[in-house]
């Protein structure tokens, strides 16, 4: 967001911004200068008089580094619209493990209080972002602070010139007006370059993210296997046992009571049909046959045909994708369709699938009553987790009164 408007307005805004940049970036150097003055005032020759200033410099620098960086980030975001990720460590939840110990994301502790204290200590002082912040506070005064000092220095020169009645007044004014629109600008590239998370921090974040996803995937997989086992055990297996018993009875009854034997046979056949239907539903829930046969687009078309909604499918996806990606997207669309029927009470839905050079985008829009939110443990949160495994994303806009729009994006190479 650049500064628009007339020249005086730009100069005025620039002057205010330059003053802000100078004040923020030169805060820590000012502390150092104050400490030096203090030391000299107590006696430069006596080493003991430097103890106080030294403590002031250390404490001041460490305490001010993070607020200064936050302020610069805020100013840059406000003026240029560039959001610089801070990369500070976030507090993981403190949880009690089965052993009775408390896990704070870094270490185990006997009590919750210890765990919280240790966590706070680590977050504040063992954060790799601290080193970056210190480096920035050392660099920023030279690369942005000094330039930002020019307009206020011009004002000072003008004031001195006015007081003494020399032409320096005019020169000072000229310097201020000419430099104001530009003097604050160096802070933006400097902040972008030196204040973003370093490669190591980004890597550490990515490792944490992946660790979380792996844990999620393991839990989800175990739950899925458990569900399949239970469905088979209670459904098809039980029915087959019943079928076997019926057939054994029929064998016995064949001679003595053919009429009852025939009735039992009919029952057995019905049982076999029912267990086939159960198995079919189970298989459909694991890997829908059309998805296996034809791929994502036709599977979504089949889904649309089976839905009670009037559904329009527009697709522009050449070729097949990786099976896991197809599966995640398919179940994503299924979830959105179900939500549209169950929660939004929609009657129509439009699904579009498109692929460009960077990824695959699935968009849905219904005519329901909206108000969908992503709740922890809800279907949409689960969908987001499943997509995260492929670095995919889910965006939902659903104002009360509708319509609900969803956008699923999964990066993949062009085919």
């Amino acid at each position: 967001m650049g500064v628009r408007g007339s020249w005086p307005a730009r100069a005025g805004t620039g002057f205010v911004r330059a003053c802000a940049v100078a004040a923020v970036t030169l805060l820590i150097p000012a502390v150092w200068a104050g400490a030096v003055v203090w030391g000299i005032a107590w006696g430069a020759a006596n080493p003991w008089s430097w103890v106080g200033p030294l403590v002031l410099v250390c404490v001041g620098t460490l305490a001010l580094a993070r607020p200064v960086c936050r302020a610069v980030r805020f100013l840059v975001a406000r003026w240029s619209g560039t959001a610089i990720p801070s990369g500070y460590r976030q507090a993981p939840p403190v949880t009690r493990m089965a052993t009775g110990h408390w896990w704070n994301g870094f270490d185990y502790h006997r009590t919750r209080r210890d765990a919280l204290m240790d966590q706070r200590w680590r977050l504040r002082w063992k954060d790799p972002a601290n080193g970056r912040d210190l480096r920035f506070t050392a660099i920023a005064p030279f690369m942005a602070g000094i330039a930002a000092c020019v307009p206020p220095a011009g004002v000072v020169l003008a004031a001195v010139g006015l007081g003494t009645g020399t032409p320096a007044a005019l020169l000072g004014l000229l310097v201020t007006v000419a430099s104001s629109p530009y003097a604050w600008r160096p802070v933006v590239p400097v902040a972008v370059r030196f204040l973003r998370p370093s490669a190591t921090m980004a890597l550490a974040d990515r490792v944490n993210e992946l660790t979380g996803q792996r844990a999620d995937a393991t839990v989800a997989q175990a739950a899925e296997i458990h569900r399949i086992e239970r469905d088979l055990h209670d459904g098809a297996q039980a029915r087959l046992v019943a079928l076997g018993m019926s057939l054994a009875t029929v064998e016995r009854l064949m001679e003595t009571d053919p009429e009852r034997a025939r009735a039992l046979m009919r029952e057995a056949r019905a049982g076999a049909t029912a267990s086939l239907a159960e198995l079919r539903d189970l298989v459909h829930g694991i890997n829908p046959p059309v998805l296996n046969d034809r791929g994502l687009v036709d599977a979504v078309r089949a889904l649309a045909l089976d839905s009670p909604l009037e559904t329009e499918v527009v697709a522009d996806v050449p070729g097949r994708l990786d099976a896991p990606v197809e599966s995640a997207l398919y179940f994503g669309v299924a979830e959105l369709l179900t939500n549209a029927v169950k929660h939004a009470r929609a009657t129509r839905m439009r699904i579009s699938l498109a692929q460009d050079g960077t990824g695959l985008v699935v968009e849905t829009e219904d005519d329901g009553r909206g108000g969908a939110v992503v709740r922890d443990g809800g279907g949409l949160a689960g969908l987001r987790r499943r997509l995260a495994v492929f670095d995919g994303s889910l965006e939902i806009t659903s104002p009360a009164g509708g319509p609900t729009r969803a956008r699923i994006m999964v990066p993949c190479e062009s085919l």
């Binding site: 056949r269 076999a272 298989v283 046959p289 296996n292 034809r294 089949a302 045909l305 089976d306």
Partner: protein, 215 residues
């Protein structure tokens, strides 16, 4: 009838052949993969073929695609598709050419051997035979549901049975009603849906399916 059986699982293929032969029909050829199926359909030109959807080498819808390809070469070549699952999408593809002589059934329909062989004969005669599960899905899809809203419950069930490919007489038998009652229902539901009834059972069923197939 001369019949080709295309099914990759030995037990099912063998059972099907024995069942068909028990009813006095002749199995002239069998196939176990998609390409073999297409070749067998071309070579034997059977009165009707029984084709499984999923077959090697890709274990996808090889059988269905072979059947559709054969029907593109020989329009109206009677094919009965058997599958572990039924999909509206596949039913719509089979019906799309509107030439009849198609069937689409769940594999367990073979359990009722009489009905299965009856369906085979209907398909061989150029009729259609659809699994009740397929018709239920066609009837309950979004657009059908809206258009069929004006039918009474009885008309709805008559329409469903008609779409399965049954004649008026067979529908009367299923619903325990008289033939004349059924023809009264068919006349009124055709009037409501705007389908012309030209008397021929086969063309009438195709008209109903075309109506349902129209998204």
């Amino acid at each position: 009838m001369r019949i080709v059986v295309a099914e990759d699982l030995y037990l099912l293929r063998d059972g099907m052949v024995r069942l068909i032969e028990a009813y006095g029909h002749e199995v002239v050829g069998t196939a176990t993969t998609g390409p073999e199926t297409l070749a067998a359909l071309r070579e034997f030109r059977p009165d009707v073929a029984v084709v499984d959807v999923r077959m090697p080498p890709t274990q996808t819808d090889e059988g269905l695609r072979a059947a559709l390809a054969a029907r593109a070469e020989v329009p109206g070549l009677p094919v009965l598709i058997l599958s572990q699952y039924v999909e509206q999408l596949y039913a719509r593809e089979l019906l799309a050419d509107g030439s009849g002589g198609v069937g689409y059934f769940l594999k367990e329909s073979v359990f009722d051997a009489d009905q299965f062989v009856d369906a085979l004969e209907r398909v061989a005669a150029g009729g259609t035979a659809m699994d009740p599960a397929v018709i239920a899905k066609l009837l309950s899809s979004g657009s059908s549901h809206r258009r069929l809203g004006g039918l009474t419950e009885r008309e709805h069930s008559v329409l469903a049975l008609m779409a399965e490919g049954l004649s008026n007489q067979a529908i009367a038998g299923r619903l325990f009603l008289s033939d004349s009652a059924i023809s009264k229902y068919t006349t009124s539901l055709f009037g409501k849906l705007g389908i012309t009834d030209d008397g021929s059972n086969n063309r009438r069923v195709l008209a109903v399916l075309a109506y349902l197939n129209n998204p």
